[in-house]
Subunit: 436 residues, 2 copies
């Protein structure tokens, strides 16, 4: 018996989904058991997909409350009315497929509790990584491992900008403008370039990887506006590329000498530009592509790579969720345990000062003898172990230095840096970046 | 109610699986419903995993015929008795989880027909790509696409050797010897270096991607023994790295001018060393890592990357299959349609001469004027369009030339080359390689 599908929103993704469901030849045969019953749109106008006129409605609640509809696909985006419509559809016993990372990362708790109570599925493969299968592997194949880290390049716009800065040597502002003209960045680029979109997504990935909820507001989030062409060049000379990484990981094994009182149940969840060693699998992920790297025991590191956005890839992810629902028991008393949400506690997030990480800092100092020794001693006094201090050049009588640390507690590093800012020799600290 | 598991073979992979099942904390909670009931071994001796002595048996058929056992894990390897034991277990109503690509690529038809008749699952995630989730995504998430190609680096030994040749500049023989001493290559390296293992695996991936059986013996298979340090260097200068690729793909859109009479239902299935452009995602897959690239409509290209072998990764794949079985209906009348084999016809494979591909050939010719023109004319007479003819150097009064073609029918290229071999100026053709 066919499952009836209602689609909320017929923009890029919704159109891609409709095209796939209307033309199933060469695709998994189970897709023939899905039937588009209604499509909710803001206004009735000609569309690039040919659906009978009778299917369109501007009354979105007529979809979420329709007793004949089995699955509601929410691809309208935005927080409201998307959230309310999802909750209403769940209350009416419908399974949900959504690409809405903003809603899931903020209202996941409310939505999954409602879904569990109603015995329906909420499927979100399209919310992270476009077409890349990443949500399902995290919930299923990779979940037999003890996950130590999930991290990745999960915002295509910033990766496109950083890749062009890397290959062309240009500055952020001019490439952003160009990216906006080419359609790779939005008119208001805030959500992308300030890391907010990546933070939504890592909240979702981290919750799945570590089996607990993550408070979206607790995620440290730093965008790429301050990345300069100079830092990209210096990073390259040191063997790194700069990528906007979203990271959720268990803290490193605590070093007994550091006495950090780390709670091993806490996780680090962060979004920031990061110096990635050029030999690292994430270093060669370029352009608008996304990649998610999962590290677990005993699997080691696996990486899932592909197009992070766009009509085709995102539609593929939505339809793969429909396939999973079509193949699963849809009676509340016998749901598929691999599709339901299985956690209901909130994970606590390691405070920034306790995060143990490598760091890169660039300083402009007066050209006086002994300044490198003075810096090294100050870091040493705070137990900040250094990998290198390199003099990069001289500008306007000032010496430009780059310092790269070993793994150190970020709080100790910040204390050292606060002292160093007061040194009379230190004129400016133009950049401070994390190192993977 | 716990599912009882019997394990055939307690080598590297079997040991890894047992360790995971005995220590499920931090893994998916469904694993607690799996219980190791029996372990079949060749001889009773101390093992690195602590199981009650009573579980061990050297009578393997006592496992495959045990009415209490629900799932048989075959991780002994080799063709026989593995094949017979798998068939016997199926006849006794047991689900199968196996890492045995040799058996599945040769006897898949027999095994899946028996499994379909018995209403049991045959799960093979561990047969290709070690821990990388690749079989399940091909059967499920990616199957909503029309697949155009699946290709990858799916043999870790050859990728390790080629990576070292690339980075160190050494020759094949010396690096193979070193790899054998380090345990990265077997004493008899044939199955790896001659591409046979990769051919087993691409037979499996191609069957899943294109929904039909592939006759293992029809796969063109060329290993890496003839790759020289010189070709690696020349390839690098042209912007390529050399990788052993296994490829299953639909033919390119037929060029109406070529009049090839290609049947669009035929697929190309091949294993050969390949010049991969350095910007291609597969080019940066190094060492023992594996990666599988899937190209489909509308998803575009996705790549799944990770450790292709080893105790931990392979055990993770086996246990992920157990998880899928544990989460699925196990009554024959209601099997999970995403886990069963859904094809029962055999795909036909495009003959070599009709494969359309780019090619790289290196020639040693006498230093006479007009020889490049003569070569170019001969290729042109056979409609072989060239991308470049480059003089690489001079050795012992001979000029060394490298020719790279556009996409051409391999048969036309071979005809041109047969003529060129007869040119009095052409002394030697040391290498002929495919180009991605």
């Amino acid at each position: 018996m066919a499952l009836k599908v209602g689609i909320l929103g017929l923009g890029t993704v919704g159109t891609g989904v409709a095209k796939m469901l209307l033309d199933t030849q060469g695709r998994h045969s189970l897709l023939n058991e899905l039937e588009i019953a209604k499509v909710g749109v803001r206004s009735l106008k000609p569309r690039s997909v040919s659906l009978p006129d009778a299917l369109y409605t501007t009354d979105l609640e007529s979809i979420t409350t329709d007793p004949d509809i089995d699955i509601v696909i929410e691809v309208m985006g935005g927080l409201e009315p998307a959230r309310s419509l999802i909750l209403q559809a769940i209350d009416h016993g419908k399974h949900i497929v959504t690409a809405n990372k903003a809603v899931i990362s903020r209202y996941g708790e409310e939505i999954y509790e409602a879904a569990t109570a109603a015995g329906v599925y909420v499927m979100i493969e399209a919310a992270v990584g476009g077409g890349i299968p990443v949500i399902t592997p995290l919930k299923q194949a990779l979940s037999v491992n003890r996950i130590q880290a999930v991290m990745g390049i999960i915002n295509g716009t910033t990766n496109y900008i950083l890749t062009r800065m890397q290959t062309e040597g240009g500055d952020f502002d001019s490439i952003l403008t160009d990216a906006q003209q080419l359609g790779y960045a939005e008119a208001d680029p805030t959500a992308d370039v300030d890391g907010l979109d990546a933070a939504d997504k890592i909240a979702i990935l981290g919750a799945l990887a570590f089996g607990g909820r993550i408070n979206r507001d607790d995620i440290y989030c730093e965008g790429i506006r301050n990345i300069s062409a100079a830092d990209i060049t210096y990073a390259k000379n040191l063997g790194f590329v700069i990528k906007l990484l979203a990271i959720a990981k268990l803290p490193n094994e605590p070093d007994l000498n550091q006495n950090l009182n780390q709670n091993l149940n806490d996780i680090q969840v962060r979004v920031h530009p990061t110096l990635v060693p050029i030999s690292h699998p994430l270093a060669s992920v370029n352009g608008v592509n996304n990649a998610v790297l999962v590290e677990g025991d005993p699997i080691g590191q696996v990486m899932l790579y592909g197009p992070g956005a766009g009509e085709g890839p995102t539609a593929s992810a939505v339809v793969s969720d429909l396939l999973q629902i079509a193949a699963s028991p849809t009676q509340p008393e016998q749901t598929n345990p691999l599709l339901v949400c299985s956690h209901n506690h909130t994970l606590s997030i390691v405070p920034n000062a306790e995060v143990v990480t490598r760091l890169y800092v660039r300083l402009m100092v007066k050209d006086t003898s002994g300044v490198i020794g003075k810096l090294g001693t100050c870091f040493g006094n705070h137990n900040v172990s250094l990998e290198s201090i390199v003099q990069i050049g001289i500008q306007n009588d000032l010496v430009e230095l780059v310092v790269v640390t070993h793994e150190v507690p970020e709080g100790s590093f910040q204390k050292a840096l606060a002292e160093i800012r007061q040194f009379p020799e230190v004129i400016e600290i133009p950049s401070l970046l994390h190192v993977l």
